[in-house]
């Protein structure tokens, strides 16, 4: 019997296909198209302490094999989110990974405390890499020190129970350096990769297309960057579990990230093109793994790193 279950940072999931943060609404919207309890987990949109309007529109621009977004973390704030969204998700019987984002180290501490004793949450994804903030200096994952501080704050305040998945940006000189830092600071696993900072200029208006000027690039265009980041980190610290994402649109592309070192896959932009993308990817991935002779998804994790024998 093929074993599709996986483990990320100590938490167990029935299958490795998750939604990506910010790409599945509250879960309700997708549940119109498929039974969301069939997901390995739903990763919620990064939530902040207070309600947040997000950035002005236009917030998106299509790009070759990708898109830019600058949502800017619009959301209701942690209290309403827990009372309404998480409560609803819990009823659906889907594993929940809550993504949190802060503007300061203290924010992360507050969020962690709020989540500490909330039942029915499988893990925290700590978004320290959102490019859609006013000040690039606020991207904690851009510097070892700030990355460490944010994760330490979460670790200290969330207690020892809840696995922490630190979400990193590829927009750094050395992602391995940042990864080592956040693992040292207490993260149990890594989410790779957040969007890549990009910009589109509208050649009609001759201005940046997005109201926020820059945005985060996602979709198949960035998949080679995701695969590289996952491969580099799995190479440097093979024991650290990775939640992989970036341009996964098919079972094959999911497999690519798994072979590079991901233990589970978040599906983001693909869902915009096809609401049932995650389910299609799940089915295709299972078939791919079986066709390759794997008995479980765990065997395939990082398989591209095996010694070069006869090629």
């Amino acid at each position: 019997m093929f074993n599709f279950s996986t483990n990320v940072g100590g938490a167990e999931f029935s299958n490795p296909i998750f939604t990506a943060s910010g790409c599945a609404g509250s879960g309700k919207e997708l549940s119109q198209f498929f039974d969301i309890s069939r997901l390995g987990a739903i990763v919620t949109k990064s939530i902040m302490i207070k309600p947040r309007s997000g950035r002005a529109t236009p917030r998106m621009a299509e790009t070759p094999s990708g898109m830019l977004n600058s949502i800017g973390l619009q959301g209701p704030g942690i209290d309403q989110f827990l009372a309404i969204d998480v409560a609803w998700l819990r009823e659906q019987g889907v594993k929940i990974i809550v993504s949190i984002a802060g503007e300061s180290v203290e924010d992360y501490a507050v969020l962690a405390r709020k989540l500490r004793s909330v039942p029915g949450i499988s893990a925290l994804e700590v978004n320290i890499s959102c490019p859609n903030v006013e000040n690039r200096g606020q991207v904690f994952a851009c510097h070892p020190k700030t990355a460490r501080a944010a994760i330490e704050a979460v670790r200290r305040n969330v207690g020892g129970e809840l696995p922490i998945i630190a979400k990193l940006t590829p927009d750094v000189t050395s992602i391995v350096e940042i990864a080592e830092e956040v693992i040292a600071a207490g993260a149990d696993a890594l989410a790779l990769i957040n969007t890549v900072l990009g910009m589109v200029i509208d050649t009609n208006t001759m201005r940046p297309k997005l109201a926020g000027k820059t945005g985060g690039l996602s979709g198949p265009a960035i998949r080679p960057i995701a695969v590289r980041a996952i491969y580099q980190i799995h190479e440097a610290m093979p024991h650290v579990k990775i939640l992989g994402m970036g341009g996964v649109t098919s079972g094959r592309s999911a497999l690519e990230l798994i072979l590079a070192g991901a233990s589970a896959i978040s599906v983001g932009t693909a869902t915009f093109g096809d609401p049932t993308a995650a389910m299609k990817i799940k089915d295709e991935l299972e078939k791919e793994l079986i066709a390759h002779g794997f008995d479980s998804v765990r065997e395939a994790v990082g398989y591209a790193h095996r010694d070069e024998g006869n090629l």
Binding site: G22, C23, A24, G25, K28, E29, L30, Q32, F33, K45, K50, P51, R52, S53, G54, R55, A56, T57, P58, R59, M60, A61, E62, P64, S65, G66, M67, N69, I71, Q74, G75, P76, G77, A211, G219, P220, T269, A270, T271, F272, G273, D274, P275, T276
Partner: protein
């Protein structure tokens, strides 16, 4: 969220050039019967190896819950950029991945009121289905259609028959009155003692229509058009600032809480900025 939304492979039944647009008909099966005026469809474009990763939204022009192919759904497409041009280049027999019906629909008054429908460019498309529904409810329906030029007026003959009066404006004067719909709007509202205005078209037109409507104290429902990445409520790209019944302005998703919204509730003129006082604004 439109609870009837379904994803189907829909065959193109017909694709005809009409002026600057393409009138396209899709075999969509039973979902056709759930579509209401104002709803839209989201169609995948470019085929499997396309560099275009997002769907394109189109207002539903009409649906038919009959015919040899089961339900039919019609849209009017302006070949503009790469996605819409690809779509209009596909031939009957080709199948597209289509989700419908999506979004909110025009609210239908329970009383036989006097309604004025205002359409800009392809924005006229959803108004003909609306006028039929209104007619059947005993409403008097007038219509104003505007565009930059005659070729961009979409006004099929059978559509015209459903309205009591039809005024056309073009900016270049190639047909109808020279000018914009909003040049004639106030006059028609007053002369015809309009109770409610429905509009669909470019955001600028909707904004001007909203201003005139509220000045003259008539209700105004409009179908907005914001850039949408998903069309189903999961991406938060398509928001616009709307004042809720509690007086609070929120960034609301136009794909599930729109495209049809109360014109008076929209904080117009806030493109590229978040209006002051919006929930969660700093």
């Amino acid at each position: 969220m439109n609870k009837f939304a379904q994803q189907v492979w829909a065959e193109i039944v017909s694709n005809k050039k009409v002026g600057a647009y393409h009138h396209m008909v899709f075999a969509v099966g039973e979902l056709a019967k759930h579509a209401k005026p104002g709803n839209f469809v989201a169609i995948s474009v470019g085929g499997g190896d396309s560099s275009m990763v997002l769907r394109r939204a189109f207002a539903i022009y009409r649906t038919f819950d009959r015919g040899v192919n089961g339900g039919l759904l019609e849209i009017v497409v302006a070949p503009h950029g790469s996605g819409s041009t690809w779509l209009t280049n596909q031939s009957p027999g080709f199948k597209v991945d289509l989700i419908a019906p999506l979004g909110t629909s025009f609210g239908i008054p329970t009383q036989p009121v006097r309604a004025l429908l205002v359409g800009g460019g392809y924005g006229s498309a959803p108004l003909f289905g609306l006028s039929e529904v209104l007619k059947n409810r005993g409403c008097r329906v007038d219509m104003i259609l505007g565009a930059s030029t005659a070729k961009k007026i979409y006004a099929p003959l059978d559509g015209k028959r459903t309205v009591s009066s039809m005024t056309i404006t073009t900016e270049d004067g190639t047909t109808g009155i020279t000018g914009k719909v909003t040049d004639v709007l106030a006059n028609i509202i007053e002369t015809n003692e309009i109770d409610i205005v429905y509009s669909c078209g470019p955001m600028g037109m909707l904004e001007a229509t909203s201003a005139i409507s509220s000045q003259l104290g008539v209700m105004h429902q409009c179908a907005v058009e914001e850039a949408m990445a998903c069309g189903i409520g999961v991406c938060m790209t398509c928001v616009l600032p709307i004042r809720g019944e509690d007086g609070q302005i929120r960034m609301v998703r136009s794909c599930i809480d729109g495209p049809v919204v109360d014109g008076a509730s929209v904080i117009w003129g806030s493109k590229r900025m978040i209006p002051e006082g919006t929930w969660g604004a700093k």
